[in-house]
């Protein structure tokens, strides 16, 4: 059973299944306040967990978005800057969690 979940095809299928489910839920009448930004960041979290994407990549994306938001502030696009800043927050948060868990696991293995 576990081996089945390690197969790339199954992972891709699972990802798409969950992605569609979340998408439908997000745009259904049962949505408790799950925003579009939340949806995208949840997709990224799912992908990171399923495909074991290194936390550093999330952090790197977060930092790039973070810097972009400051550039947008420099260009006086406050609304867009806040939007990008929120994405950067999400990516940094996901990256920090994944990195932290992997470091804890590494320590346990040692």
């Amino acid at each position: 059973m576990l081996k089945l979940f390690k197969s790339l095809k199954v992972k891709i299928a699972l990802f798409f299944f969950l992605a569609i489910f979340l998408f439908l839920w997000r745009y259904s009448e049962f949505n408790p306040g799950f925003s579009g930004k939340g949806l995208i960041l949840t997709y990224w979290l799912l992908a990171s967990l399923l495909f074991a994407i290194d936390g550093k990549i999330s952090v790197l994306i977060g930092i790039l978005l973070f810097l972009s938001s400051s550039v947008m502030l420099l260009l006086k696009h406050e609304g867009l800057a806040l939007r990008v800043s929120l994405y950067s927050y999400g990516f940094l948060f996901i990256g920090a969690i994944i990195q932290f868990i992997s470091l804890l696991k590494e320590k346990e293995k040692k």
């Binding site: 306040g33 936390g55 550093k56 952090v59 790197l60 977060g62 930092i63 973070f66 810097l67 938001s69 400051s70 550039v71 502030l73 420099l74 006086k76 800057a81 806040l82 800043s85 929120l86 927050y89 999400g90 940094l92 948060f93 990256g95 920090a96 969690i97 990195q99 932290f100 470091l103 804890l104 320590k107």
Partner: protein, 704 residues
Amino acid sequence: MTHFKKKIIFGIYLFLSLVSIRYFILNPGTLGHNWDWFVPSSLIYLQNLPSTLFYTWRNFSLGEPISLWLPSAPFFLFFTGFSFLGFGGGFISKLLVISSILLSSFGMFLLINKLVNKQEKKSDFPAFLAGLFYGFSPFLLCEFIGGAATQFFAYSLIPWFFYFFSILNEKNNNHYRFYLLASAVFFSFLTISLQVIILCSFLLFASLVIQEDKTKYLKNLFFLFILYCLLNFYWILPTIVEFQNIFQTVGAGSAFSDFTIRNLVPSLDQAWANIGYTRPFYPALISNNLYPFWLFIVYLGLSFIFWKVIAGKRKEAVFWLFIFLFSLIFSTGGKDPLGNQVLWLYEHLFLMSFFRSPQHFILLSVFSMAILIGHATVGVDFKNYIKRILFIAFFVIWLYPFFSGDFGSSILHSKKMEYIDSYKLSPGYEKAFEIIHQDEGDHKMLFLPLSGSPKFLKTEYQNENQGGDPLIEYSIKDTVVTDISYASQGKDLVLELERIFCDKKNQEKTSDIVSGFNVKYLLLRKDVIPHFSECQTWNWQDAYLKLKVEGYAEIFSQDYVILFENNKYLPHLYSPQKNTTISFTKINPTRYEVQVDNPADSFDLIFLESYNSSWKIFPEKINDFAGQLFSKPLYANSHRKINGFANGWKINKNGSYRLLLVYIPQNYLYLGSVVSALALLFMFLLIINKELKFAKEKHDEYNL
């Protein structure tokens, strides 16, 4: 690290703290007149304060239970202690600020040296930078402007607590008992701010995940909390006993405001750079044109810190990054990233009621950021001077508003924002307080207007400003106000009194309420007007006329004050029945000795202090606190609220006799103090025993 190096670093921080407050140092006034600043200027006030600290009942606003404020007593005792050496509010308020900066920066320096030392020790520079950030952080600047001394002083003690606790958790600790006591003592000091103690407790438990030896860490935590409880038993016990009464009194003002959570919080872009507060003071200190460039540079530096932390692969560092990101959720309150969820927590989680102003959560961001700075810069080769200069330049840019010399007061004043003033008390006030202080009788006084947080008008002694008035908060005689008091008893009467004084056309007499409150002195002030009040048309001349018409005796007038005397005031303790003579001695705010002579068969004893069921009457012979705790009080069934706020008892006993009127939680404070003192003594004995053994072992080793 050598002691010499430590002294140099301390010297640098001291120099920088003096630079940051240079304009105030050159000005002889007391810092205050803004928000929660409550440092009294007058020596009479400062010297009176220690005598009011260690009681569970406070003679303020007709009296209120205050055991939740007892943990702050050592803090107030220390700072007001300087007044007995002749130092006034000017010195003490500035000392408070300088010591907070120094304790914050040097404490963080020691902590980072300790945390980083465990991994790879290369240079003291990372610890210096972390100390620089924490001691001169934008948040601390805003806390100074806000003026809640217990908050910013608690902030400065946090690194010291974690420093001692991290040593406690080290392997082969030969001075375990000493560090356990030091950790518990500093943890106790943090209780001067409930928010700080809650956040630090959270950090302590969260840190468990990064501990190598979790069992040992949990054991240390257990001992820490046990010792903390024993050392603080002096206020914990009366608080538990009086829990219901305290929360009834304080609870009235503790509901959270949706407006505050949504609006008086930093935006995410401010929170990233640690520059947010309830109002954007820090961004206001940076010129509008410069601000986006400044923010860009700070974001660049932060990006470096985030990347270095992640790339460094140290779980401790990533843990603190996680704490930093987590704290942003709460410090931004009802705004993004998770504003709605935070509001939901405020509505449903009792713990959140301690954080009515979400700015308290910024503390977590700043503390974790300082540790991140330490971790991120530990791998940098600081032997290269260009790198040193680059890092210093970055921190200079980030923190430069801190060094404006007056905490940005002139800029904030020009932008019509709140700012700290440096004020002096006029000679008229000093003289009036001298007259009131010399009168040792037991009575109250009334400040007119009845505002504890008034608007100060511009005079030669103060600027136009708004904030807490220490003359009211620490009034040498009990007083009543309409705004800053939590007490709900008699509130209607106080508001009624304000309405009469405020409304020129209102012909009602004030003397019934004033005398019924046991008020002997009325101090009419010309240099303040009400702010948080329904009275928007205050005019001191109208109030003056009213006082004159009603026949209050004007006994003193100078510059901005006029002192009146009310000769018809009711005594603090009396009986309305004729012939029944009541005389009494006030031992302290929680204890009165009452002499009853020629009593009627049945008479009422009235005590003009807020009604509280914990006021009890005992016969004279039961005068020890233990006896009172285990004895049945007299006339308890007849104890009731009277005159709208006061305590009344129906007494049926003939002949002359003495009674004791006691506020019972004070006896629990005495009992708790015995436990706390014994715990401290026991710990001292354990430490001395251990240290002597250790010294002997060393001596034996040396001889061998």
